[in-house]
Point group: C3
Chain length 247, copies 3
């Protein structure tokens, strides 16, 4: 893919975000894109290829959102970005004059996404790639759901390299209760909220804690251990938060 891009635009600057996703891990890729893109300059073109449906009738798409561009399959990879960026526009990739020939049925990253991204980097506009779409595939929403008036139903968006479980709870879900977050995962309650990972614990036995992570989401962590292993937690599974009376 890098060779294809540089063959079309020798001045392209290529940055690796990650090559350490598990095979077929669409939700992990979607999370990685969500947390990375806000730090990139306007005009950045992101290419993402976690693409188990390659060769089927799933569409290749270009997303224009947040002054950046995203190229890849329509399988949810960019749906978190589209949820965040109200003005997101999604285009089908139809202009096959841009493709590398022959187009394989197993590696659209090389034959479609890379050459389209390279063409966009030389001035092509998303609208020149194909028609604008009104619907696209999405993963679940980033917003937790209120059950009754004291319980929030959320999920684990991602389990990171350290075993931290990153939920979809944001600070605005806990108005006025910064100091008293209580969440449950797999029947276990986590009531301790830390400001940073190495914070001394008041109770020695307490190994799990919650922490506001760098992506703005509540994470469940354990110092120098994998919280996911302790909790037997998996990406996508349910997490519950209990809101305090003073909400």
């Amino acid at each position: 893919m890098k060779g294809v891009i540089l063959s079309i635009n020798p001045l392209a600057r290529i940055i690796d975000i990650t090559h350490d996703l598990r095979p077929q891990d669409i939700t992990g890729a979607a999370f990685s894109i969500l947390v990375a893109y806000p730090a990139f300059p306007h005009g950045t073109i992101h290419v993402a290829v976690v693409d188990p449906g390659v060769g089927s009738d799933r569409l290749p798409i270009v997303v224009q959102a947040g002054n950046q561009i995203f190229v890849g399959p329509d399988n949810g990879l960019f749906s978190y970005v589209c949820e965040r960026e109200a003005a997101a526009q999604v285009f089908a990739i139809r202009n096959d004059s841009l493709f590398r020939r022959p187009v394989s049925s197993t590696f659209h990253g090389r034959d479609i996404f890379a050459p389209v991204a390279a063409a966009l980097s030389t001035g092509l506009t998303p609208a020149e790639v194909g028609e604008k779409l009104n619907t696209w595939n999405t993963l679940g929403t980033l917003r937790p759901r209120l059950l009754g008036n004291r319980t929030l139903q959320g999920r684990i968006l991602h389990i990171d390299h350290f075993g931290n479980c990153i939920t979809n709870f944001s600070r605005e879900d806990f108005p006025g209760s910064q100091s008293g977050v209580r969440v449950s995962v797999n029947g276990r309650n986590i009531g301790s909220l830390r400001q940073y990972f190495a914070e001394p614990s008041p109770r020695k036995a307490e190994s799990l804690f919650a922490i506001w992570g760098s992506a703005g989401f509540l994470e469940i962590a354990a110092r120098n251990r994998s919280a996911a292993k302790i909790l037997r937690a998996k990406a996508g599974q349910a997490v519950t938060a209990h809101l305090r009376n003073d909400r």
Copy 2:
């Protein structure tokens, strides 16, 4: 190695292809080079260091092939490229004025290959590096062998990240029989040929299938599973293809 290259040619553009090969995996590296180089622009210099013989009398070499240059040890890393590119020329690296000093006996990547590649990127020609060689070390051929008139004897070139088993069978080995490929691995027959990975299977129980991969080789795959694990297959092992009568 990147520091050495940039110290000699501050304008060099360095692209990572892979750092995920297993230690000493010469055939895996040779396969990665074979599938990557066709996508790169003319004049690209590829540096490859899978080098268990470092420090012994194995030669460091420069290969000029397909309008590109390859730098590394003479242990077969570039032999697939040389087989593909009839006009390939191979040069010994002798010009030790190019080397980083002192030359370690355990890391020629840093002390020989990187500085030679950097010098080539600034205009040095392969012939200025050392004499042209008539022979070099090769891995097995990329061509399968015809046994009788209906059986092709091939091998698994590589097992990829997903567990797909990539054979050395090419489309031209199966003239007129695109729809009826039948291969055997470890006593198991795979008779189903798919166009893409997510293709719906007519028979539910059927987990293994063949597919023409993005490198132009027949691959044995299993949807969302590792075919290599199912088959207990290893890189380098034999694979047999049965040609149809209508050949």
Copy 3:
């Protein structure tokens, strides 16, 4: 982090050294920095983030040493470089006008180190970042200790990708005895010294050997096997070297 750097300095050239360190592996990171920096051009800025103490009162620092700059947490990551480079200067990072806002308490790589490194790449001097420090945190010394007059007490600095155990013994620790190094790890003596990994062994049964590695340190290795596994050795543990009478 790459997005933050490019947002501040669009002309920055970003090179990846490694993303394969184990979580929290400060000594492995310190070793990687020690062996990589000498090959880089003057003016290179190294950013390193192995940072279990992020958010606590550990300082963020900038190190100026060997005509290069290092940015990261004050947890020993750069202490080997400071030991090597007598003229090293260490500065606290205090100038919070450089930081990305809001500063998270869990990812200073993105919010402090990356923007400070980017500012340094555009001409800011280390002294403009904060005051010079007289002390900083260090890992153990790179120098082994002489016990009596014939025994050197050292340690394993790092276990590499291949399982080679890299000690802190340097050539100058063995004056006049290049051919007769004898080291002990976990009660096992290694008396064979090879020049290169693939050197034919005089004794077949002998699997472990010592070798002067590319970083200038004595390594304990096994051909095509992991010496660390054979020895059940761990990074940081003691290694003893026995000097010969003719010292």
